[in-house]
Subunit: 228 residues, 2 copies
């Protein structure tokens, strides 16, 4: 069992504000876990007994609509925490989480989280900021979903993925998503996503090589995202 005190991952999230005392406590309670690509980490409706600190890998948070289509609502990556919405809200989970690649994570029991929220005002403040920031983002997404065309949303999504996950050595967006998953982020039919990606390729704005996507002209993509 590693000691959280020396873990560099926590520097990437709110756990950085914890005292040595609190970290010691978490070290002894935490549960190290691994997930394989495709594994379901948790499912809509479940109660969560703690939060995950993601030390490696990426996952998608999805919601199932009544018609059976999956909507990708958010991505989580190395350094992010996962599950705090449910734990802090003391409600069942409202999203399902599936690993997009092999993952490592530490599970921290909710008692430790609540203890620190109560006694460590820095941690409490930071967690408020995280949840509030999520809420701000979600509100923007609602407006975008409601007002923008599929083509605009595709452009925004590509820019978002590029910014969030960075690029590999060849400049490709560093996340591997199927066309169906891209469609499920945008909220459109898979065929529409494929077609519009082809269009962007023909226009020379992006480059497609299998699942790899490279943005050739960020400025043009931004313009498209804003409706020009």
């Amino acid at each position: 069992m590693g000691n959280c005190k020396h873990c560099i991952i926590k520097e990437l999230n709110s756990l950085r504000t914890l005292t040595n005392e609190e970290l010691k406590c978490i070290s002894s309670h935490k549960n190290e876990m691994t997930f394989k690509k495709g594994d379901v980490i948790f499912k809509e409706g479940m109660m969560l007994n703690g939060v995950y600190c993601i030390s490696k890998g990426k996952c998608k948070l999805t919601k199932l609509s009544p018609n059976g289509k999956e909507q990708i609502v958010k991505f989580i990556k190395t350094g992010d925490m996962l599950g705090y919405r449910s734990v802090l809200g003391e409600e069942p989970v409202n999203l399902s989480v599936v690993a997009l690649e092999d993952m490592d994570a530490c599970f921290i029991p909710k008692k430790d989280i609540f203890d620190s929220i109560q006694h460590n005002k820095d941690f409490s403040k930071d967690m408020f900021k995280v949840v509030c920031s999520d809420l701000k983002e979600a509100n923007s997404t609602i407006a975008d979903m409601a007002q923008k065309t599929v083509r605009e949303r595709l452009a925004d999504t590509l820019l978002f993925l590029d910014e969030t996950f960075g690029e590999d050595k060849e400049g490709n967006i560093d996340i591997k998503l199927s066309r169906e998953e891209i469609a499920n982020v945008i909220g459109t039919a898979t065929e529409s996503a494929i077609r519009l990606l082809s269009d962007l390729k023909k226009e020379g704005v992006i480059c497609l090589m299998g699942k790899k996507i490279k943005i050739e002209n960020k400025t043009a993509l931004r313009k498209i995202g804003n409706g020009f």
Copy 2:
């Protein structure tokens, strides 16, 4: 200046968890305000120095998209708090708020809110629940916006408005919105909203009398909202 200790409005929100000591403090700092229908309470981009406790009236929270269209993201009514996302997140406001009818509110400086968050664990817990609940709702809305048709979203919206604002003596939904505002909730063109409302009327699911809308068949409306 009224004394918060005896205010019944606070029983409707997280302020109910405050101690007499804290309420006394807020009583002496709070600022009673009124707004006329159409008044802008605050605007996207502003910094907020506190939160509002709404003692009377309704308002809409809107976001402007790059193309200039307004999206209504949320409604606030009597008993709700307003502005906590920005204050707790220590960020500028991301939504504009406009009064839908004459309103009364108390403005509470953020210092008092932060003090209570730090020292009153019930209040802190409750505020987490409120923000987390907002986030949960927002995530559902994202999925609905992305996956549902305009007609489905209209049905959902009518049911939501009915549930949120209740009905007057004649059974009409107890909020007065223009067709344009209804369109801005759904995320569609005003003409489309008007047309689909007419359709629902022809089908006998709702009854329209000027701005007054009455749901005649809730079950049918729910079915429509779920894609049948």
